[in-house]
């Protein structure tokens, strides 16, 4: 029983990181109907910004988090303005390929600057509490609580602010929204900023939980987060969070009961089976085809 609770805690930790990244995918998709394949690499840049902030600038936890979030948000907005905006009218795949290109650029640029995997020094003293046989570290608590808090903030912004209403309006009908006075370009920038800043936060939290980082770390994590977003129903914010926790939970539970090399196989097979039965994700709505 304690073993199970321990694994559930681990699952929550991994799942909240997946969920944070998946939110970035789903928000951009919700508005632009475009998969931002560079998002996993935004996450990686967040982890590297965290490394720079800790080793070069020697900053403590909160400023590091802010640097990672703002830095990645700026990167996201710049990418959108330079690479994606000219392609808004182009075929959808061109934008996707551009996103792939931006992702590869970020990976290889980081690789050219830092060819070897780096170790991120611990930012905060790790304290372990033992409650009835279950060990909880303060790091785990910080990761889970901070992720949930960020998700709550995002939920508030999307549901209860004018910006959020504008976002939902664009997502609902991109043609009509500007007629109603919605500044489409700046709202899209805000969306990119919000999504990327969550990705940056996830990168920083990941670097603290699993302190070996390398330029290609964003690929696998990014794809997994994308899968989470799709499983939950892409474009749906609650779905992304749900999908993140489902994927994190599946991976940890598989690793707990089977050799860890089978983790990806079983996790992906479960996802495939799920997609066969619910092809539009758990919370997604099937779109009726028009001819």
């Amino acid at each position: 029983m304690t073993y199970l609770i321990q694994q559930i805690l681990n699952a929550l930790q991994l799942g909240s990181i997946y969920a944070l990244i998946a939110l970035g995918y789903t928000m951009v998709y919700g508005i632009l109907r475009m998969i931002n394949f560079a998002h996993g690499d935004f996450f990686m840049v967040g982890a590297f910004l965290c490394l720079i902030s800790v080793t070069v600038l020697g900053l403590p936890f909160i400023p590091t988090l802010i640097i990672a979030m703002i830095g990645v948000a700026a990167l996201g907005v710049a990418t959108e303005r330079i690479a994606y905006k000219p392609l808004r009218q182009a075929p959808r795949v061109s934008a996707i390929i551009t996103a792939l290109g931006v992702g590869i650029f970020l990976e290889n640029f980081t690789l050219a600057l830092s060819p070897y995997p780096k170790h991120v020094p611990p930012l905060i003293e790790t304290v372990n509490w033992t409650l009835g046989g279950v060990t909880v570290s303060n790091l785990q608590v910080i990761i889970i609580v901070l992720s949930l808090a960020l998700m709550a903030v995002l939920h508030y912004i999307v549901q209860h602010t004018r910006t959020g209403i504008a976002m939902r309006a664009i997502s609902f009908d991109m043609g009509t929204a500007p007629l109603m006075g919605v500044p489409v370009n700046s709202i899209i920038s805000v969306t990119f900023a919000l999504g990327s800043c969550l990705g940056g936060a996830a990168g920083m939290l990941y670097a603290m939980a699993y302190p070996i980082i390398d330029p290609y770390m964003g690929i696998m994590i990014g794809w997994k987060a994308f899968i989470s977003a799709v499983v939950g129903g892409i474009g749906n914010i609650r779905g992304a969070v749900l999908g993140g926790f489902i994927l994190g939970g599946t991976e940890i539970l598989v690793a707990a009961f089977l050799p860890s090399t089978y983790r990806d196989v079983v996790a992906f097979t479960i996802l495939l089976v799920l997609l066969i039965f619910r092809p539009y994700g758990i919370l997604g709505k099937p779109t009726a085809g028009k001819v």
């Binding site: 061109s94 690789l111 090399t261 089978y262 092809p279 001819v291």
Partner: protein
């Protein structure tokens, strides 16, 4: 220029080009016309042409977004390498190599059949996930099979891939793709791309078309994998992960979707450019994606997007004949 183009569309051109290519592909290694490095690059270009053609069939002509093509390559590479390195008698390996290549293609085609089944119901981003997960599962499966070396990789593969053989398979893939695209099923594939439901109403058997397209596409990806394995003499599961799939995607969209000549150009330019930029070392990998992004911004449809060289349109000259004003079009001519 126009005289060159009209010469290219004449009926004798294709056989002449193929024959010339074969002569060259035999002569180059035989008389050492080009140094070994250039020969290797040539083989690599041919393999990449097969790969991007096969992906173009699904992504460009059928309009799906498959992102796990390296998984099929892995199946072909491992199947053929197992046959040549472990199963065939060592003294007859060179003779049996074509069998191994075809077996690799068939293994990949069977996997293509498996991937085609979810494509009946899911489309777009969800099908992308299916192919992506498929790619990751394949890689993880090979990571766990000790018989083929697991994560350490498969060593002891003979160097059997030759230039004429690679050229033969490239011509084969172009020929099969061309004939498939302009066949009844190929038209059905285009109908699926443009509007699946409308196509179905016009009596396109979408399931059958999807299965055929995936099987043909994955068969050739498997062939390319088999050729690659016997060129590099070493394979490991990491070579066939999502990064490799992305490479193929880039070649297809660089050249332009829905175009055979586009795939040929895209694969050639991408491969050759990477080799030419080698002196830049690590920074060439930074430069390449930047070039791709710039190309996409200024030419989103790729180099050839949806345009085709007349050479690759079967019966182009006959179509031209039929449109003479004095000749009536038969109603069943389609």
């Amino acid at each position: 220029m126009s005289s060159i183009l009209s010469a290219l569309s004449s009926r004798a051109t294709a056989p002449a080009l193929v024959a010339m290519g074969f002569l060259l592909s035999f002569a180059i290694p035989e008389y050492g016309l080009l140094d070994l490095y250039v020969q290797l690059v040539l083989i690599y270009v041919c393999i990449n042409i097969i790969l991007s053609l096969s992906l173009n069939l699904v992504n460009g002509y059928m309009g799906e977004f498959s992102v796990g093509h390296a998984g099929f390559m892995a199946a072909g590479a491992y199947m053929s390498a197992t046959l040549t390195a472990k199963i065939f008698p060592p003294d007859q390996v060179a003779l049996l190599f074509p069998v191994a290549i075809i077996a690799g293609g068939i293994a990949a085609a069977i996997l293509g059949l498996v991937v085609a089944i979810p494509s009946f119901k899911t489309r777009g981003d969800y099908l992308a996930i299916v192919t992506l997960a498929f790619n990751m599962i394949i890689k993880a499966v090979f990571d766990n099979i000790d018989y083929v070396g697991g994560a350490r990789g498969f060593i002891g593969i003979d160097r059997l891939t030759t230039l004429p053989m690679t050229f033969f398979w490239t011509v084969m893939s172009i020929w099969v793709m061309r004939n498939f695209i302009y066949s009844k099923y190929g038209r059905g594939m285009l109908a699926i791309r443009e509007e699946e439901i409308a196509g179905e109403m016009m009596t396109v058997d979408t399931r059958r078309v999807k299965v055929l397209a995936f099987v043909i596409s994955s068969f050739f990806a498997g062939i390319a994998g088999a050729l690659l394995a016997h060129m590099l003499q070493f394979i490991n599961p990491r070579m066939f992960d999502i990064i490799k799939s992305t490479d193929i995607l880039i070649m297809v969209y660089l050249g332009g979707t829905g175009s055979i000549i586009g795939s040929i150009l895209g694969a050639t330019i991408y491969t050759v450019l990477l080799e030419v930029l080698r002196p830049l070392e690590m920074w060439r990998m930074v430069l390449m994606p930047l070039l791709l992004v710039v190309l996409m911004i200024y030419r989103p449809q790729g180099i050839m997007g949806m345009r085709e060289l007349k050479l690759f349109i079967p019966g182009y000259d006959r179509v031209f004949m039929r449109r003479k004003p004095d000749e009536k079009e038969k109603p069943d001519a389609a």
